[in-house]
């Protein structure tokens, strides 16, 4: 690094990669980078760091795709004219070559498994009649047990049929009283929920109580990681008696 680069503030490199420099600063940085191979190397490395961090987020659909589209491999990147040795740094190619090797291995194993399955099927197949009879018995037992359970549930919760048919909004207020989540013995617990509401919830799958319904992040409707609709939070705040007050400390006052 020459004497000019010794005076050069390297923190400008990060700002340069982030597009946070003024036009004048950008020109200074670009000329310094052009003259200095160590700076070029630093730019490449920091750009890779930046891409890796961004790709490590859940927001990124794919690590390799993020890396491939990252600034430093993009022709539109501000430092694209530096012509970095892409094959030397970008891990995406390495990832794909490793994946190809694994893919071949998996393909071979799958073929062997298929051949073995066919062999076993042809030679050791259990007599179908012997196999089907117990299966029918099991199914009939299961149906019987299921109908008994259904009858029990219906009789024990006969008084709550009204609840089942109520709208989800009404259920929200009754079944999910203001929730202040807490942790007891390592598990999350919610405020008490009446058995009738539980049954109602189970029978009305469209209504979602956070602690009972499908985990929100598994729900296809929330595959973009939207925050789960917390009606409970609003109810909690509105029903908790809290009021906006001027007497609170303004530690959080950021304006």
């Amino acid at each position: 690094m020459n004497t000019n680069n010794q005076r050069f503030d390297e923190s400008l490199i990060s700002a340069y990669l982030d597009g946070e420099l003024s036009e004048q600063e950008r020109l200074v940085v670009e000329s310094a980078i052009q003259e200095s191979p160590p700076l070029q190397k630093l730019v490449r490395e920091l750009s890779t760091v930046r891409s890796l961090v961004a790709a490590s987020s859940d927001k990124s659909a794919s690590l390799s795709r993020s890396l491939q589209s990252s600034e430093w491999t993009s022709s539109s990147a501000p430092h694209a004219q530096l012509s970095p040795d892409r094959d030397a740094i970008v891990p995406a190619s390495e990832l794909s070559s490793l994946a190809k090797r694994h893919r071949v291995t998996i393909g071979i194993l799958a073929s062997l498994a298929a051949v073995l399955l066919i062999f076993l099927t042809n030679n050791f197949l259990i007599d179908k009649e012997l196999a089907v009879a117990p299966q029918i018995a099991l199914e009939s037992n299961a149906q019987k047990a299921s109908s008994e359970i259904e009858a029990d549930i219906t009789s024990s919760h006969a008084n709550e049929n009204q609840t089942v048919l109520q709208s989800s909004a009404d259920l929200a207020e009754r079944a999910a009283p203001p929730v202040a989540s807490s942790r007891e013995n390592g598990s999350r617990t919610k405020a008490a929920i009446s058995p009738g509401a539980v049954m109602a919830t189970l029978r009305v799958p469209r209504f979602r109580i956070p602690c009972l319904a499908m985990p929100w992040h598994l729900n296809p409707r929330h595959q973009h990681r939207a925050y789960p609709p917390k009606r409970n939070l609003c109810l909690f705040i509105l029903n908790s008696g809290l009021t906006p007050t001027r007497t609170d400390q303004t530690r959080f006052d950021g304006n």
């Binding site: 923190s11 982030d18 659909a61 094959d87 994946a99 950021g254 304006n255």
Partner: protein, 197 residues
């Protein structure tokens, strides 16, 4: 819940007693606040808890909001402070930040499970490296490279000058680079080999 009213109008209504309008503010901002907290905490349950604390705190302190910044900026500062408080409390307990939650990655267009496995391993390595950073650097890296906040927004959120944001972010990236190199992350190893030739 859509409302034609903007944040300031809603806040005025809430201040005059129409507190149920606060639910509109919650619905409007909860996703971004949750994302922000998830970026910093990397634990969904913690992020949900802190988001809830943030909104409750916002409701209680609404009269201290003077409108000099946007409501979301103010809310994000509340969230950041609540996050720091949460991390301080968590220090006494065993932190689960070292086991980042990668179980809920979005469906990748590359459906090959092997590719996904390799990607997840790399992601875990990167997250582990981020966790090794000091808190002040880690926050800035997350805000910039994951949340996509610009330097001015970060400076506002952390109440530090933009120059400090720039230098702190640069130090953080240099530190990450060294961690990656020490860990032998493949993204950096070939580069060194070439340079040594």
């Amino acid at each position: 819940m859509e409302s034609p009213l903007d944040d300031l109008e809603l806040i005025e209504l809430i201040r005059t007693g129409s507190v149920h309008h606060f639910s509109i503010l919650v619905e409007r901002h909860q996703n971004r606040i949750f994302q922000f907290l998830l970026t910093l905490l990397r634990n969904r349950q913690d992020a949900e808890d802190v988001a809830q604390e943030t909104f409750i705190g916002a409701f209680r302190k609404l009269h201290s909001f003077e409108g000099r910044s946007s409501f979301f900026t103010w809310l994000r500062r509340l969230a950041y402070n609540a996050c720091i408080d949460h991390l301080r409390k968590q220090k006494s307990r065993k932190s689960d930040l070292s086991t980042p939650d990668v179980s809920n990655l979005n469906a990748s267009p590359n459906e090959n499970p092997v590719n996904q496995l390799v990607e997840r391993e790399t992601i875990e390595a990167v997250r582990s490296a981020i966790d090794q950073l000091p808190e002040d650097q880690r926050s800035i890296v997350c805000m910039r490279d994951i949340e996509g906040m610009d330097y001015a927004e970060i400076a506002t959120c952390l109440e530090i000058p933009i120059g400090t944001v720039r230098s702190r972010l640069h130090r953080a990236r240099l530190e990450l680079k060294e961690i990656f190199e020490r860990a032998g992350l493949r993204a950096f190893t070939p580069c060194q080999e070439i340079d040594n030739r």
